[in-house]
Amino acid sequence: MDQLLEILSNLHPDVDFEMEDRLIDDAILDSLDIVDLITAISDEFDVTITAKDIMPENFNSAEAMYDLIQRIRDEE
């Protein structure tokens, strides 16, 4: 989780990712952020995130992203 929070705060030093739970719904992360973020997650965690995973419920909070990473790891 710390690793993920570090990726996120590099992306947006001004956002409190431990608190925010509407990152997509409130458009705090835009399309370029999503591209950057998924590239970083894929590299750091060695998982493959595809289009069908890019849903608000998987990216609205750091916790949701962490759950997604765990889920993909389990499936792989």
Binding site: I24, A27, S31, I38, K52
Partner: protein, 504 residues
Amino acid sequence: MRNNVLNYLYGSITRCPDKLAFSDGTEGLTFRQVYDSARSVGSYLIGRGIYKKPVVVFMRKSPREVAAFFGVISGGCWYVPIDEEMPAGRIQLILDNVKSPLVICDEDTAPIAKDFVLHGGSTVLYSEICTTPADETGLARVLDSAIDIDPIYIVFTSGSTGIPKGVAACHRSVIEYVEQLSETLGFNSETVFGNQSPLYFDACLKELYPTLKFGATTYLIPRKLFSLPVQLIEFMNEHKINTICWVVSALTMISAFDTFSVIRPEYLHTIAFGSEVFPLKQFRRWRQALPEASFTNLYGPTEATGMTCFYHVDREFEDGEPIPIGRPFPNRQVLLLSDDGTETAPGEIGEIYVRGTSVTLGYYNDPERTSQAYVPNPLNTAYPEIIYKTGDLARYNDRGELVYVSRRDHQIKHMGHRVELGEVEVNVNMLPGIKLSACIYDAEKKKIVLYYLGDQTDRELTELLKTKLPRYMLPGRIIRLEEMPFTPNGKIDRVTLKKIYENK
């Protein structure tokens, strides 16, 4: 003769009054509703005695905002779109420039507008004026006395001094552009646009005015969907969107995540893109997913009304080979000039100058910067002729197609927006505790990189900058330096900064 963009609206209202004109997927307006609201807003302006003046439209992106634009035009004024996403500092600079007598707000923006200095102007809610009874005589008089060199809008673009520049375009230029673009891309009454660009840029001309001209339909796609590729395509399929003119980053966001293996756009047949280089790997994925669709690269500065050049992609490209910007639309000319004002030899790099009706009126209330960019044509000394100096460098390839090379200065294209790195730096330098700053652009990762000397932490700096700069101008990487590298003649050494960045 068609001398006012409203003629388009008057055409569609007779042909298809009950057809959906503009929608964001939840709320929509038919041509009749657009027409009625526009005439109400126009009548309100006439009643207030506001005529041939800039009127600020400060509303959430919505079909109602589009109707407000046409309302301002119906009243014989020109609209100045401001967006809720713009930071307060920038909005104030725009208000200081245009000194508009009226700011049209909606319920979301009215509380924000209270804090602005309006220079004697006032605010009004759109919902309170959009049902004003139509002043038939007044509206007819406005249309009768319309002159096609009067402005239609002012849109603001990044300025290197830190003050944004307001590009004012007239009816004649917009009509000419809409005609040429529609012909080139084959728009018609069956066209269903999926709009991506914000309404505060000239990029949205591509959808708004052809919609009126043909009685077509435009969906303003909710911004959030551009982070959600599958849902974005579901939205497009649900609304049978068949035509898109998007920035490249919006298209690559879809192709990069292998979205096409899950879902494909079912109705899409016309794809135009521009403002940035399309990475070939991503472009090929699009072509593969939609082999029957037409793909067109567009190029053009805001100062020449929308787009100037087009290239229909008709062949395969080698890795690293740029997709050309092709040739100008009819009725405009691109001159490639060298620094001494002469035409460059074939194959040589020159600066793009645009000539024709599409050249806009100039920067609003800004004669100095206008005269630097809207210049006399050096090839014509017989009579006054103004052409626009773009600052873009290009050359012709062996096939006679124009190919974009680079900028002359520190302007970059970021997320489809024009950004003067100088404007970012000026705003950073004004913050307390900052001694000096310099920006470079990482074109590969699409990040503005800011270097600074000062006491602020990068987090504090980002917080403050957000109140000054629009989101797309915020640096993606902020790095504090102990000292700034300089060139021998005392300028900030950007080459060294790039090296520092690359070696990190």
